[in-house]
């Protein structure tokens, strides 16, 4: 049976068919759906959201040691977080097959950088596979488990946004009964104390030599011969772009097992063609190694080494061919940046924070999540955003320096619930331990919002739907040693105002927890009772609207302003009745929409 699957669904399916029985990850675009699709196989696969990627990989390593085939999946920046266990797991090797999926995001569709994680393979000395469509994603995950067990090495499966989120046809197979490997009697290889690690270091080189030999014969490194005129060496999604541009006019060395590279195969292929292109997205990973073999080729001298490729970019950069386009000043079209949803619990918080920040000398240190949108106009209440969990620690460092030089600048950290559990907790511990006086705001929307409402340690439910202990953020914060903690309802603007003023008045570190569920999250019965809005939707009583435009400062997508009539209006189908605009309006012109329209 052939089924249209995204690369992420195919990775999950491949792990299932390979008999994997443990998988862990942390949500992050473009990787999220891998774990979500593994969670479906309840009973066969234990699938878990970990608090962060390091924990995910370490848990998968543990599952592998215990004899199971195990997988960890994360976005590319998540691999940075997991790099610590990764670099040593290559020394220890595996028991059950161990696969790490790195989902890279060329073009920064939904990321803070576009690092090329293929470099991790030689850096951490790991075998690597790179699929170019969903079928290969499934086949390669299965092969990855076999390679991992055959060579005693964790395997890196590197995918990109256009693999993860593109759908193509996949032939489904049955789940293999992968017998659980015996729990090893000799555990010394997993105990990397220096004396033992030194031994593993030498073994690792032997493994890599064997993997290099395997690479020469691996079926994923194949030649598609169409004559000697043009040769293309390529891997991953770039293979599809190359096929689209050159069709059958070029021969291809299509590389799927890309670390260690098949040097002899590359030499042979290069010697048989008149002109050699290396086509790859982002860094010259393949090209540098081809050049190291003394082979000259055309690559990054013509193909961009940043942002995504597509067939048009390849055709233009290599052949100078540009498809005719309809000239249109697309740049003159007003931008459509992503915005906080109507009813988003972050809106009121950033509205009030922005107001107080404009009155004081304040720097706002933000973090990764929907609340990074708090920096957009008109809220304009966020200055910094670097990486997961960085808000409290960057705030701390900055605050210490301002304090040292006697400056009055206060630093506020804003961080979401899931990000707080991810790496925010050690950062806040640092704030207490090293005695700074930042204001940390934990925006608890009861879910992992940006990636599509995944559960987290604070939500009370596991990835596979089991009820679990709900970790109490306020209790954690108090246990860390923060003496000044307040939990507030972010839909109550006067309360938010008071609470922020209270925190700014303190000379010690304080924490404000705002608590209201993400508006996109399916509410359970208890949440429906606890977090109900007073009205279904709001409306503007035109006779009372003075045209002051104050409500527009909320940046709500349901609110608009007509300059001809000089009145605000609310789109009933977009509004979710949160009522923030009614609190902001000085003229009581925002009213219950149902009464207004009745």
């Amino acid at each position: 049976m052939r089924s249209l699957m995204s690369g992420n669904e195919a990775v999950a399916r491949g792990a299932y068919e390979a008999g994997a029985c443990y998988a862990a990850g942390y949500p992050g675009t473009p990787s999220t759906e891998i774990l979500e699709n593994l969670a479906i196989f309840k009973g066969d696969v234990i699938a878990e959201w970990s608090p962060n990627e390091k924990v995910a990989l370490e848990s998968a390593i543990g599952a592998s040691i215990a004899g199971a085939r195990a997988l960890a999946a994360m976005k590319m920046v998540g691999v940075n977080v997991a790099a610590d266990p990764l670099f040593s797991a290559s020394y220890s090797g595996v028991n059950g097959g161990l696969v790490l999926v790195s989902a890279d995001d060329p073009g920064l569709h939904s990321s803070q950088n576009e690092q090329d994680n293929r470099h991790y393979a030689p850096f951490a000395k790991l075998p690597m596979l790179e699929p170019s469509d969903s079928q290969e994603a499934k086949d390669m995950v299965k092969a990855a488990f076999e390679i991992s067990e055959a060579f005693d090495a964790p395997v890196l499966l590197r995918v990109t946004t256009r693999i993860c989120h593109s759908k193509s046809l996949v032939t489904l197979g049955e789940r293999a009964i992968a017998p659980r490997r015996l729990y090893p009697l000799d555990m010394t290889k997993f105990n990397l104390v220096p004396a033992l690690a030194r031994r593993q270091r030498a073994r690792l080189e032997t493994k890599l030599q064997k993997l290099a030999e395997f690479s020469e014969t691996c079926e994923f490194n194949r030649v598609e011969w169409n004559g000697q005129r043009i040769g293309v060496i390529t891997s991953g999604i770039s293979y599809q772009y190359a096929r689209e541009v050159f069709g059958d006019t070029a021969s291809y060395l299509k590389l799927g097992f890309t670390h260690p590279l098949p040097k002899q195969k590359i030499r042979d292929f290069a010697s048989r063609v008149d002109m050699l292109y290396v086509i790859e997205e982002l860094d010259p990973y393949l090209e540098s190694q081809v050049r190291q073999l003394g082979i000259s080729c055309i690559g990054k001298d013509k193909i961009p080494d940043m942002y995504e490729l597509d067939p048009a970019v390849v055709a233009k950069s290599l052949l100078g061919i540009e498809a005719p386009v309809i000239r249109c000043a697309a740049s003159a079209v007003p931008p459509r940046p992503p915005v906080l949803c109507a009813g988003c619990p972050h809106r009121g918080f950033f509205y009030e924070l922005g107001k107080i920040a404009r009155r004081h000398d304040v720097i706002i240190s933000g973090d990764i999540g929907c609340y990074a949108l708090g920096g957009n106009d008109p809220l304009d209440a966020l200055d910094l955003c670097i990486c997961m969990g960085a808000a409290p620690s960057m705030a701390h460092g900055a605050q210490k320096v301002f304090n040292k030089f006697g400056e009055r600048t206060r630093v506020v950290a804003t961080i979401g619930d899931s990000t707080f559990f991810h790496t925010g907790i050690p950062a806040l511990i640092n704030t207490v331990y090293n005695r700074s006086n930042t204001v940390t705001c934990i925006l608890d929307n009861r879910t992992t919002g940006m990636t599509g409402q995944q559960d987290n340690p604070g939500s009370g439910t596991t990835l596979q739907g089991a009820p679990t202990k709900e970790i109490d953020i306020e209790a954690v914060v108090r246990a860390i040693g923060i003496d000044h903690v307040r939990v507030v309802n972010p839909m109550d603007l006067p309360k938010l105002q008071d609470t922020l003023a209270w925190a700014f008045g303190l000379d010690e570190p304080s924490v404000i927890v705002t608590k209201w569920p993400c508006t996109l999250k399916p509410f359970d019965r208890q949440e429906r009772d606890e977090y109900a809005h007073k009205f279904k939707y709001m409306a503007v009583a035109a006779e009372d609207c003075t045209g002051c435009e104050r409500c527009l400062n909320l940046g709500c997508p349901a609110l608009s302003f007509d300059h001809l009539t000089n009145k605000a209006s609310i789109d009933a189908s977009t509004c979710n009745g949160c009522g923030l605009c009614a609190q902001v309006c000085k003229w009581s012109a925002v009213v219950n929409g149902e009464l207004q329209h009745a």
Partner: protein, 198 residues
């Protein structure tokens, strides 16, 4: 040998492009075509500009095409068609929902909504403007405007060899089958009307 056809659906996060691409892909696969489609997830979904590409033929390599590569652009919102127009082949087609969703800079009054979008489109490329929200509203629910646009697309690219009514019926929730079928037929009629007029 069937040449690969490249479709692009654009709109605003949350407008229901996903249902349309699901129906499209299902029908194309059932008809024996090779199909690839590319979506973008993540931050753009929060009310940002979103695009999906669907490509079908005998053998499809790339899931995406670049500028100047799209045969038919379906825009669920008027000014989004302008934003993505450079992707359309000069001899391609645009089906545009004659419906405005102001973006943040427009809502806050920093920039006006561009004037004469439909006219601009028509002056540059074969364009059909469809008031899909009004049509869907007359049927009973403005939200099925996405299926109205889908009907227009099917009519425009001659995919009538596929039994779309069966595909729709097996995709949407049972209580909404009649509504969606009505939307599909209305979309086809609207496009057919446009074709007769030109």
């Amino acid at each position: 040998m069937l040449e690969t056809t490249s479709l692009m659906l654009v709109g605003v996060g949350g407008q229901g492009t996903v249902l349309v691409t699901t129906i499209l892909a299902k029908g194309l696969v059932a008809a024996g075509h090779d199909v690839k489609m590319a979506e973008v997830h993540g931050m753009a979904q929060r009310g940002g500009s979103v695009s999906t590409q669907v490509r079908y033929g005998d053998v499809v390599h790339s899931p995406i095409v670049g500028k100047g590569g799209v045969d038919v652009l379906v825009s669920f919102e008027a000014m989004e068609a302008l934003r993505w127009l450079e992707f359309v082949k000069p001899e391609g087609k645009v089906i545009v929902n004659d419906y405005h969703i102001p973006s943040a800079p427009i809502l806050t009054g920093q920039q006006p909504y561009p004037e004469g979008v439909i006219e601009t489109l028509k002056s540059k490329v074969d364009t059909t403007a469809i008031k899909a929200v009004d049509i869907a509203g007359e049927i009973g629910d403005p939200r099925v405007m996405n299926v109205v646009l889908f009907g227009a697309l099917v009519q425009a690219i001659d995919l009538s060899h596929i039994d779309w009514e069966t595909v729709i019926s097996s995709t949407v929730k049972e209580g909404f089958i009649d509504l969606n079928l009505a939307a599909y037929r209305a979309g086809r009629n609207a496009m057919a009307y446009h074709e007769r007029e030109n």
